[in-house]
């Protein structure tokens, strides 16, 4: 398949970029330090979770957008060859997502192994990988839809800001104004609309620290129980990466390059 052939070279190119190496190194240093300083590994997973929830979406969305813009002329050249736009689109996506995944697995995985693997740290890596796919998909979508590089990066940064920071504020505001009503179902829907929240909840459900779960997490646990809550959250994350990918591909197919 042509997708795999192109993917090979995209992977080769992205894996050697300095930004991916720096990203892996940064994760490695953070997680090594956290595992080293904290004697209780579940506590270090908790601190690591906060870093992963902030850093993974940021790096994925920024690096993804920039890389797609920088490959523009090269993409044009490849599309003048006998290959479909869909093959190219998915090989770019997979190349980016898999390289960042590799960096993540290396950066957190090696410290986790040296300090004794726990199920929760593996689970944290899984959630990180899913978030990588989600935010690379969003990045490519925003790079495809906006023609101007500066505007595309702006859109990406704004989306990151919205999902990681603004969203919590909005939820609090909604809760505050509608505190007289039963909000459980609404809250569940609201948290399903934010991939970062979904990632957070699914790790916290595994850690069983309900005090730290926040309102949405508690609702998830109450309604779905630990296991099915986790599975639902993960499935929603997969959906979150497929949706922008589908829209991006649809737009890219008819785009003037």
């Amino acid at each position: 398949m042509v997708t795999l052939k192109v993917l090979k070279y995209v992977l080769y190119d992205v894996l050697r970029s300095r930004m991916v190496l720096a990203y892996a190194l940064l994760l490695f240093v953070f997680s090594y330090a956290l595992f080293y300083l904290e004697s209780d590994p579940s506590k270090s997973v908790l601190s690591l979770l906060n870093i992963v929830l902030l850093l993974v979406p940021l790096v994925s969305i920024i690096f993804g957008t920039i890389h797609f813009y920088n490959s523009r002329e090269f993409i044009e050249m490849l599309l003048a060859q006998p290959m479909s736009r869909r093959s190219l689109f998915f090989s770019e996506f997979l190349g980016l997502a898999l390289s960042l995944t590799l960096a993540l697995v290396f950066g957190i995985g090696i410290p986790a192994i040296t300090f004794g693997v726990s199920a929760t740290s593996l689970f944290l890596i899984l959630v990180g990988v899913l978030l990588t796919f989600v935010f690379v998909a969003i990045a490519i979508w925003s790079a495809v839809v906006t023609n101007d590089k500066a505007r595309g990066i702006g859109v990406s940064l704004l989306l990151w800001f919205y999902f990681t920071i603004l969203y919590d504020g909005i939820i609090l505001l909604v809760l505050f104004y509608f505190s007289d009503y039963p909000m459980e179902k609404v809250m569940m829907i609201l948290s399903a609309l934010n991939p970062v929240d979904l990632g957070r909840i699914s790790v916290l459900l595994r850690l069983d620290v309900s005090a730290l779960m926040g309102y949405t997490g508690a609702v998830f646990q109450k309604f779905l129980g630990s296991i099915s809550g986790t599975v639902t959250a993960l499935a929603l994350l997969v959906l979150w990466s497929l949706l922008p990918l589908w829209f991006g591909n649809r737009y890219f197919r008819r785009k003037d390059l």
């Binding site: 190119d13 044009e76 050249m77 599309l79 060859q81 006998p82």
Partner: protein, 240 residues
């Protein structure tokens, strides 16, 4: 071999190509000329399927463009690329395009050898100078023996020796029966290569025919004079 009929394309409110119809046959070099922003690149991108026309159709070797991507097997394209992926080596770029095209016949490695690309195989694309990149692009376009070659300003940035090699290659491809479409601003290239000249202005076809015809019709013997004359005529006159 390559036919455009009633091709139109606009970007937003700006109409870049207006009702363009033209027919190219085999064994000829067509020079596509016109001032900046006259729609040359858009026309080429429409042929390659990179830009999707609003109206009209393009037929390449009896395959209609837009239905499938298979017709591009018959096309070699030499773009003007300034930015390649940072970490891809020259050698890998060739492997990659070979991988994608799955070419069955012989490779045409004449330019590859003439430009000594073997020697820079280990260099990364991003470290090459503009002229070297042009050489790589040219070698890639000719590598798969395509029946149609589309060259976007092929001699821009090439040193005189390389430019001469490329022009000879273009002429020998013409004798092999290929169609070569070139955009250029270099008038001596047009004088040396063109069988047919195609003049675009504001997205409309102003002239399509032999070079000598253009000269007599504009009443000027030097091509550059003839072109200035042709460019300066108002947008709605067609040179007849």
């Amino acid at each position: 071999m390559l036919r455009l009929s009633h091709l139109s394309k606009s970007f937003g409110r700006l109409q870049v190509v207006k009702d363009l119809s033209v027919d190219f046959g085999r064994s000829q070099v067509v020079c596509l000329i016109g001032p900046n922003g006259s729609g040359k690149t858009t026309m080429i991108k429409c042929i390659l399927g990179l830009v999707i026309p609003d109206e009209g159709k393009i037929v390449v070797n009896s395959h209609q463009v837009g239905r499938s991507w298979n017709y591009r097997r018959a096309i070699g394209y030499m773009p003007q690329i300034n930015r390649f992926p940072d970490n891809i080596k020259v050698k890998q770029l060739f492997e990659m395009i070979k991988d994608i095209r799955q070419h069955r016949g012989d490779y045409d490695e004449e330019l590859y050898r003439a430009f000594n690309i073997e020697l820079i195989g280990e260099k990364r694309m991003s470290t090459l100078s503009g002229g070297m990149r042009q050489k790589v692009n040219a070698a890639l376009a000719f590598l798969f023996n395509p029946a149609i070659l589309i060259l976007d300003e092929p001699t821009a940035g090439l040193d005189p020796a390389a430019s001469e090699i490329l022009k000879e290659k273009i002429l020998s491809c013409r004798t092999e029966g290929k169609l070569i479409v070139i955009t250029t601003h270099n008038m001596s290239d047009v004088e040396e290569l063109a069988d047919q000249v195609m003049l675009l202005h504001d997205g409309t076809l102003k002239f399509y025919g032999q070079l000598s015809e253009l000269k007599t019709k504009t009443g000027s013997n030097k091509l550059s004079r003839a072109l200035i004359e042709a460019y300066s005529r108002t947008a709605d006159t067609v040179i007849k």
